[in-house]
Symmetry: C2
Subunit: 209 residues, 2 copies
DNA sequence: TAGATTGTTAATCGATTAACAATC
DNA sequence: TAGATTGTTAATCGATTAACAATC
């Protein structure tokens, strides 16, 4: 295993490798970087480099042992260590994320959901009851929460963000279509649906440009 | 206005400019690239280059007229022309997207939703009734649909994708954590939540690496 | 051994940033 | 005119891909 020279782009691909490997582990006890690249539509050298940065288990002529590679990826991605998170904004998208079970594969556990609207407080989604915003502070503290998920409308996003930062959150997953201002030790990952949509739309109208 | 030399990264930023400009249009009739860059946390030269590729309305010393810039961005992004789309998979995420009104700002209109499960067919979300999969073909044809949204579980994604491609869809917005195989004239945009999560998790555990 | 596959070093490519010239 | 701001050309940076050496 090399030093922490994993680029951000490589890091983004690692969960894709992991997901695919899990889906074929029962059929393929071994897999080469070439085959994996073919399956995911990536360049084979790229895959070899990506895997090389998190695993030292590749063997010339044999490739990688699937189970060992899965274990290396899970270890690197911290899938086995639990990451507690809180979610602010229990609208449609927020409830969808609360109900989605797939994040637990990566260690994420949304321990609580909050909403500023009294109409939503008290309802539940994904087995969690939505709480009032004034419960945010003690919930974060009690659960050592350092990851916050923002699924409120754009207008309320900065306020939600400030509250989270004030509670000691160091990483924010922002689904609101807005740029957030945060201290430099806090990382914001924007899930920009409008950006993806722009790429798709341009492809459809592209010929007429 | 220059030729179509807009890079994919620039294209992804354009909706962010547009959203921000709309939010401040009533307060700032003019805005410079420097101020815009500051507001969104981008490099000012980058903003100038981005804007220059879709608008020719920047004036030295004055900057851009906000309304004119909004109009240029909307024109380039095709916000005023309607893009009909279908959605497959009316689970939590699918229903969240159906209910979200914000896409209409960019011209997207989800004309119909489909699901393979009889339990879901007939229910409604965002004012649309979920239909059975055998209605997919004629719906796409009647509405000239070329954009498909996949919000089914990973196991069913390739099948949903094949059905869409068979109906003449040329762009696919994939929310399933899987790589899709498509003909080369079809564009797939993957919304990889697991990738974003990996970046956030690594930031939190990063110091111990 | 021969050959397949890994992993590394070098070359290419694209995007960002810096320096500068143009202009209102 | 002077100065702020745009837009362009050149330099830097990071990521991808290609060529090659190492190894089982």
């Amino acid at each position: 295993m090399r030093a922490n020279t994993v680029s951000i782009q490589t890091l983004r691909r690692l969960p894709l490798y992991l997901h695919y490997l899990k889906s074929i582990r029962s059929e393929l006890p071994r897999i080469s970087a070439t085959v994996l690249a073919e399956a995911l539509g990536f360049n084979d050298v790229q895959v070899r480099k990506d895997l090389g940065s998190v695993s030292g288990n590749g063997r010339p002529k044999k490739g990688y042992e699937t189970d060992a590679l899965i274990a290396d990826l899970e270890k690197y991605l911290g899938c086995n260590s639990r990451t507690p998170a809180v979610l602010i904004g229990a609208g449609n998208l927020g409830r969808a994320l609360l109900s989605y079970g797939g994040f637990s594969d990566y260690g994420l556990e949304i321990v609580a959901a909050f909403d500023a609207s009294d109409a939503v407080v008290g309802t539940s989604a994904g087995g969690k009851t939505v709480m009032s915003m004034d419960r945010l502070g003690d919930t974060c503290e009690r659960n050592s929460v350092r990851l916050g998920i923002i699924t409120v409308p754009a207008a309320g996003a900065q306020n939600a963000c400030d509250r989270l930062v004030g509670c000691g959150v160091k990483a924010i997953w922002n689904f609101a279509p807005t740029t957030l201002k945060v201290p430099c030790d806090v990382l914001v990952e924007n899930e920009n649906l409008a950006s993806s949509l722009a790429v798709l739309s341009k492809h459809l109208t592209g010929s007429g440009e």
